[in-house]
Subunit: 141 residues, 2 copies
DNA sequence: CGTTTATTTATAATAATTCTAAACTATTGA
DNA sequence: TCAATAGTTTAGAATTATTATAAATAAACG
C-alpha cells in the first residue's frame, strides 16, 4: 500500500538549482531544515536558532538573505501577522492561518475550511494580489 | 431633510472623560484630528506629521502614548498589514480592509461585502479573538 | 492654594532588519 | 587543472520603528 508523503520532499540541491541559487553549504542546510519535514512557519530568529542547534555554522545575515531569496523564488511566502516580526511559510499553496497570539505561533487552516463568499471587486486600476485571512486566537494549547 | 453625519462626531473632551484620560492639550488635539472627520487609518508618523502641520506642538512619544491609550480605551484598533509599521483605525466596528501595497494605504470594506462562509472552529482551549481579512492590492489609484 | 498624581517630553535604549565591504567560494571555459 | 569571474557569506555598522527613563510640567482634588 502506497502512502503519500505529508509534504513533497524536495531534494535541496535540485531545489537550489531550479531557483538558480548556488548550492552553498549554508543554503543547503537551511533548505534541509525548512523542507525536509512537513509544512512549517519560521522567523529568521527561530530558523537561526534551529541551525545553531543542528551545528550548522552560519550568520544571521545569511538566514535573512536566504529567506528572502527563497521567497523571491517562490519556495516560501511571507505572512504578516505581527508588526514586530516577519514569518515565512513553507506552504506556498493557497491557505489561511490561525495565529496563536499568546505564543506567537502560526498554524495552517485547510483551504476548504474558510470560504469567502462575496469578495468585493478590486477598486478601479488595482488588482487583487492576495487575500489573507488571519484568525487570531487567544488562550493555551 | 436631515442628513446623517458620515461618522458620529465625538466631542473630544467627552471622549477623553469617558476613557478616564485627562483632557490635555495634546490629547484633545489628537482626538480632534482623529475623530472630527470620517473614519481613517493612521500611523504614528502620519499623525505626528499632521499635528505638526496643524501647529500642534507635541512629541512623537506622546503620539505613540496616545494611540496606545486610545486603543486600550476602545476608541481605536490596530491593524496589522505591514511588518514595518503599525496602523491605527478609527473605525472600531467589524469590518475588513483593502491594503494598497504600493502606497501603504488602508481602506475599509463594508461589513457586508465580505462574507466568510464556513469558519473553522477554534482549536481546543483557544478562542477566536478576531478574524482579519486583508485584501492586498497592487496598482495605481 | 498646596499636594498628589498623571502626563509630557528629551533623550537614550531596544530590537528586527538591512547595509557595507572585505574575505571566501562556486562556476566557467581556456 | 586553473585562473578569472561572478556570486555568496559575514562581521560589524547602520537604520528605523518603537519603547523606556526620568526629569519637568500640568491637571485634579481637597
Ligand atoms: Mn522574530
Ligand atoms: Mn509608520
Ligand atoms: Zn501557512
Ligand atoms: Zn478600517
Amino acid at each position: 500500500m502506497e502512502t503519500v508523503a505529508p509534504f513533497p520532499y524536495r531534494d535541496p540541491s535540485e531545489l537550489l538549482r531550479r531557483a538558480r541559487l548556488r548550492p552553498t553549504r549554508q543554503r543547503l542546510a537551511l533548505a534541509r531544515l525548512l523542507f525536509a519535514g512537513g509544512p512549517r512557519h519560521v522567523t529568521a530568529e527561530s530558523l537561526f536558532a534551529e541551525a545553531q542547534t543542528a551545528n550548522v555554522r552560519l550568520s544571521l545575515a545569511t538566514v535573512y538573505n536566504t529567506l528572502h531569496q527563497f521567497t523571491e523564488a517562490g519556495l516560501l511566502r511571507e505572512v504578516v501577522v505581527d508588526s514586530s516580526c516577519t514569518y515565512f511559510d513553507t506552504n506556498v499553496s493557497e491557505h489561511h492561518h490561525f495565529f496563536h497570539e499568546d505564543q506567537g505561533v502560526l498554524t495552517d487552516i485547510d483551504g476548504e475550511e474558510v470560504n469567502i463568499h462575496a469578495l468585493p471587486a478590486a477598486p478601479e486600476g488595482t488588482k487583487i494580489s492576495r487575500v489573507d485571512v488571519i484568525i487570531r486566537l487567544s488562550g493555551q494549547k
